[in-house]
């Protein structure tokens, strides 16, 4: 496929040389895609108002040049997500999710994977644009992001025996799932105590429609547990520290977690 015409979300744009921009896109056809937009900084006609963070675009990309970066030929603005710019918490959370996708989404992904990732980002941005983000929404969108990346933690059944967890349970970080009471003896340094109620809320967060995520009820204890669980899960399975995390913590009035603090 030499010429790709696709919907995309713009995840990052970096100035290149005197007049060009390098643009990171997420496409439902091929996943992450890096293109060069020639003359994007100088010309007021070439890509006017389109190559901006969060923008949902329809683009035409030329991939015929062997050994060189694909070239952006056309871009049409579909949704600008202007609401994400007017509130710091929205801007911070949307930036965080895009950075996660920009760092983790595969280039040349299989179509079903690319469609799942694109669907997540589009839904998350639409949800955020109309929301007042808080720590609960962050936890739920982070969980959905891991799920879209194919890193869904096992919350419903014990990773040892497959039984539904009851009573005193724990989350095994390395195994990425819950350990039931019967296997509590296997708890080690890499496990976190967690209440069944917390797991239930997170499970609902994976199943609910995006429009209902903001209404999911969390108690302070469930939120603290969910936060630690996802933080440790992210550090182990994703393994990167995102640059946008600090600003996000500050925007949500939430002191940052460090591996030591957990």
């Amino acid at each position: 496929m030499d010429r790709l015409v696709s919907e995309v979300i713009l995840m990052r744009a970096v100035d290149f040389g005197e007049s060009d921009r390098i643009v990171h896109l997420l496409s439902p056809e091929v996943g992450r895609l890096t293109v060069i937009a020639k003359g994007a900084r100088r010309s007021i006609k070439r890509f006017p108002g389109t190559l901006d963070l969060f923008n949902h675009l329809r683009v035409a990309v030329n991939r015929r040049r062997p050994g060189s970066m694909a070239m952006l030929e056309q871009a049409t603005l579909l949704e600008p997500f202007l609401g994400l710019r007017v509130q710091s918490a929205r801007y911070a959370l949307a930036s965080y999710l895009l950075e996660l996708m920009d760092r983790m989404a595969p280039e040349g992904a299989a179509r079903p994977d690319a469609q799942r990732l694109f669907g997540f980002v589009l839904s998350a941005l639409r949800t955020l644009e109309g929301a007042t983000p808080n720590a609960r929404l962050r936890v739920l969108l982070e969980l959905r992001a891991f799920d879209a990346l194919g890193l869904r933690p096992e919350l419903a059944r014990c990773v040892r025996c497959g039984e539904r967890p009851q009573g005193r349970v724990a989350f095994h970080v390395a195994d990425g799932g819950v350990i039931c009471g019967a296997h509590a003896g296997e708890r080690s340094e890499g496990t976190l105590p967690v209440h069944v109620g917390t797991l239930k809320v997170l499970q609902q967060g994976l199943e609910y429609d995006y429009s209902r995520l903001g209404r999911l009820a969390f108690g302070p204890q469930a939120l603290a547990e969910a936060r630690q669980l996802l933080f440790r899960f992210q550090r182990f399975h994703v393994g990167i520290e995102l640059r946008s995390e600090r600003f996000l913590d500050e925007s949500l009035g939430w002191a940052g977690l460090t591996p030591e603090s957990t």
């Binding site: 990052r12 006017p48 603005l77 202007l82 946008s244 600003f247």
Partner: protein, 199 residues
């Protein structure tokens, strides 16, 4: 492989400049080799004195030859207005317009979490302190009209929530010499929202 170690050294140094690769560096090096001695001396002297002769204004963070800068120390400027810009180059553009006679505040960038640029990396606290010191009636937020610039403007507006000074944002719309046919729908929509009577 270049013709002399001096050429190689110059090409290697030029390649550190933004947007300059091997080919451009080589082209520049050959140009410099063929140019007059007086231009070479002027260029090397200008580069050598760039840092020592440049001062960051302690008030507005503009670049100049002294601090406070000529704008901040000019008694004819309107001290009741502050125009907030991202970089010194933006300040120069506003100055060139001749439409503003107040003072400036250079942020040193925009909020860009993806690039690790948070509020602590910008001169926002200093702006808040300037406004809190009194005498400012209007703060014009002239960051670029893109996602980062808009987000930064709204963040600053939140930080200045308690001030009584008027907070304004530069207008959005069609650029001079622009073409409606090529404009995006958001720009066209905002141009219509911000239209002005012509008689």
């Amino acid at each position: 492989m270049h013709s002399s170690p001096a050429m190689e050294r110059l090409v290697a140094a030029l390649k550190h400049l933004p947007g300059i690769g091997e080919k451009s560096a080589t082209r520049l090096a050959y140009f410099l080799l063929g140019t007059s001695d007086s231009l070479l001396r002027e260029l090397s002297d200008a580069i050598a004195r760039l840092k020592t002769d440049t001062a960051v204004c302690e008030v507005c963070f503009n670049l100049g030859d002294r601090s406070p800068c000529p704008i901040c120390s000019d008694p004819r400027r309107d001290t009741s207005m502050i125009c907030v810009v991202e970089e010194p180059a933006d300040l120069a553009s506003v100055e060139q317009s001749g439409a503003f006679r107040g003072l400036y505040h250079v942020l040193g960038g925009t909020l860009s979490p993806i690039d690790g640029m948070g509020p602590e990396a910008l001169r926002i606290e200093e702006l808040v302190a300037r406004v809190a010191a009194g005498g400012v009636q209007e703060v014009i937020l002239a960051t670029n009209p893109n996602a980062e610039g808009d987000a930064t403007a709204h963040y600053i507006a939140d930080q200045l929530e308690k001030t009584e000074a008027r907070l304004s944002r530069i207008a959005y719309g069609m650029p001079l010499g622009g073409d409606l046919e090529y404009a995006d729908h958001v720009t066209v929509g905002r141009s219509l929202e911000n239209r002005r009577d012509i008689r």
